[in-house]
């Protein structure tokens, strides 16, 4: 709290980026409206949210059972299952498959799990060309950037910026028209789908009792990725497993509504193993990577609810902090309020020393979360751990220690107020404090502060009693 942080600096830069501000305001406002309208016309939505939460809760209690059931069923369907304890194991498994099978190019459907393990960089180092085929992901891959939103990776770019990027990278002048730009990307990507040896996807859900991997997409690219190349690899966090198809219906009814305000996404792709003998298309091989990467540690922990997350992005759209600074300022794979929890979960508390405070605790995130994750409460818990584990800066811990003593004693409280009144004297102008030194200068840089009252209420009460 005493020195400005690297996160604070990135946030300040984002605030000065006029393009980013324009893009964020337009997109998040649109998402908020679409979500609101879709739930307004869907009275059973609230009940389904409770149900979805209960399913996640119950599934996590028996996670090992459902994962084994899923693995058995995928194998029974002719697929291969790989268990990855860490990001590195997940990457190595995929690179091993590429090596053994002579894969030179991999097309990808949008997946945060593969972002989490920096898969594209690893593939490139191994001589495999990764091609992102979701339009947003394609844009940021061309721009050599990372996604700044869980479902809208290029949300930080205006259409004008995308037109400039395409014109530069594809060596042809394009108008700032979404249709023109989409057509350009489509033309580029068609060839890649046919050339690629491997298709890589994430998984929105995996149904244990049928061995089905479920992908929720809007552009049709997911279907091509899972059916055209000879190998399909799906990477999923272990918390994505759900027991049955009946449960899937509950989640599908609220996921797209929360994310984009759609009743259902345009494509819901159900993948059950590789191509079977009588089928004419589909991959020859199907691999499912079940990735832990820090998740199982959290099942019994305070951040457990973060494992319910469906990655819909609704909490980002309503977060006043995210709406101002965008996803890149967070500096992690998963941005926004849920991203802070996921980062702590995957990388440990030290990784969110500053991010844990990137929230005013306004509660808008919890209100829109389709599975009711109490994000503000868990951010408070995370802050508590930063204090307890002595990760919070010493100066801050000392200051709050003193502050705590003062608030726990009427005598010290009065003494503090009296000292404050003396100290503020030289700074009062027209009944306001307009410029204060040190920590309080962070307030008065942009806002006035009322001075401490000459007679506090506890004094004035004597006249009223």
């Amino acid at each position: 709290m005493t020195a400005s942080t690297r996160f604070g600096e990135r946030a300040a830069v984002a605030l000065k980026d006029a393009f980013l501000q324009e893009a964020l305001t337009i997109a998040t406002t649109k998402f908020i409206g679409l979500r609101k309208d879709s739930f307004a016309g869907f009275p059973q939505g609230e009940g389904l949210r409770d149900q979805a939460r209960a399913i996640k809760e119950a599934t996590l209690q028996k996670l090992d059972h459902y994962l084994e059931q899923l693995a058995d069923n995928v194998e029974r369907l002719g697929g291969h299952v790989h268990w990855a304890a860490t990001a590195e194991e997940a990457r190595e498994t995929i690179l091993g498959l590429c090596r053994d099978r002579g894969v030179k190019m991999a097309v990808k459907s949008k997946s945060m799990a593969t972002e989490e393990i920096d898969l594209n960089e690893a593939l490139e180092r191994a001589g495999v060309t990764p091609i992102e085929t979701d339009l947003g992901e394609y844009i940021i891959q061309l721009a050599h950037e990372k996604p700044s939103h869980i479902i809208a990776p290029a949300i930080h770019k205006t259409k004008g910026q995308v037109a400039d990027l395409f014109s530069r990278e594809l060596k042809e002048r394009f108008a700032a028209d979404p249709e023109v730009l989409t057509a350009a990307a489509r033309k580029e990507l068609r060839q890649k789908f046919l050339q690629a040896d491997m298709g890589i996807t994430g998984a929105n859900f995996a149904v244990a009792d049928t061995g089905t991997v479920v992908l929720v997409t809007n552009e049709g690219n997911g279907r091509m990725v899972t059916s055209l190349p000879r190998i399909h690899v799906a990477v999923m966090g272990i918390e994505k497993v759900i027991p049955s198809m009946t449960d899937l219906m509950v989640f599908l009814a609220i996921l797209a509504r929360s994310a984009t305000g759609q009743k259902l996404s345009v494509y819901t792709t159900l993948v059950r193993g590789p191509r079977r003998s009588a089928e004419v298309d589909g991959p020859e091989e199907f691999h499912l990577i079940l990735m832990d990467n820090g998740r199982s540690r959290q099942i019994a922990g305070a951040l457990r609810e973060a494992l319910y997350c469906l990655r819909c992005g609704a909490c980002l759209n309503v977060c006043p902090v995210y709406r101002q600074i965008g996803g890149h300022a967070y500096g992690e794979t998963y941005p926004g309020p849920i991203g802070i929890l996921l980062t702590a979960m995957l990388k440990g508390d030290r990784a969110v020393k500053d991010l844990a405070h990137a929230s005013s605790l306004c509660g808008a995130c919890q209100e829109v979360c389709p599975v009711g994750i109490d994000i503000p409460r868990m951010l408070i818990e995370l802050r508590h751990r930063l204090d307890r584990e002595r990760i919070a800066p010493l100066g801050e811990r000392l200051m709050f220690g003193i502050f705590g003593r003062v608030l726990a004693s009427r005598a010290l409280f009065r003494l503090g107020a009296a000292l404050g009144k003396l100290a503020q004297r030289p700074f009062v102008r027209d009944g306001r404090l307009r410029s204060l030194p040190l920590l309080l200068g962070r307030w008065t840089r942009s806002r006035d502060l009322p001075p401490l009252a000459s007679r506090p209420f506890s004094e004035r009460w004597k006249d009223l009693a």
């Binding site: 006043p320 902090v321 605790l361 705590g404 009427r410 307030w443 942009s446």
Partner: protein, 246 residues
Amino acid sequence: MKNPVRASLLVTCLVDLFYPEIGVAMVTLLRRLGVAVDFPPGQTCCGLPLFNSGYHEEAARVARRMIPIFSGSEHVVVPSGSCAWMIKKEYPGLVGDDPAVGSQARTLAERTHELSQFLVKVLGVTRLETDFRGRVTYHDSCHLLRGLGESQSPRTLLGGLPGVELVELPGADECCGFGGSFSVRLPEVSTSILDKKIANIEKTGAGCVVSCDAGCLMQMSGGLSRKGSPVRALHLAQLLAGSDPS
């Protein structure tokens, strides 16, 4: 004659030290409604700033001291959604390891009311007389709205004032950017959230933005005053108390 309703004021640290006029307005208002008001001595702060920053042992120490101060109170009335939330929702868990204090905390949680909820839900008040005139708009404090689930009571009370034209604030349910220590940890972010709020307030053409939390008022009036805006940020109690505080 029926015994009067008895209520203890928990004025909060911000009202005590920065905005005593809000406390005075509460006393005036409650007395006019026939409530027997007392102010238990020794109160400081509910400990929310400590709690929200993660300093839970320190917050628990403050809570353990505050709880017995109100042990004899029939009702405890708080001019703040966030402090009321802290006492109602967090005190019982915070001090729960000591069963005796824990049970006292649960009793206090039940007896504690945010001001607008006390007026509407306990006293059944919806229409008050005041000589305040003009257009006002209302900003929902996050803790009152989402923490205590209250959006209606303050609007009912403001809408019931004869000389007041209540206009809905666009994005009324969006945070003002205060967030306690957040406002100084990330001052630029806090202020840019505030700028949106102020732009929305100005859109309404109201001469006054009303809220039920001194934290939000400090943030909004701090921004309005710095911009030289004529719009005032006032606490609900100040409007309801009867006379125009200007």
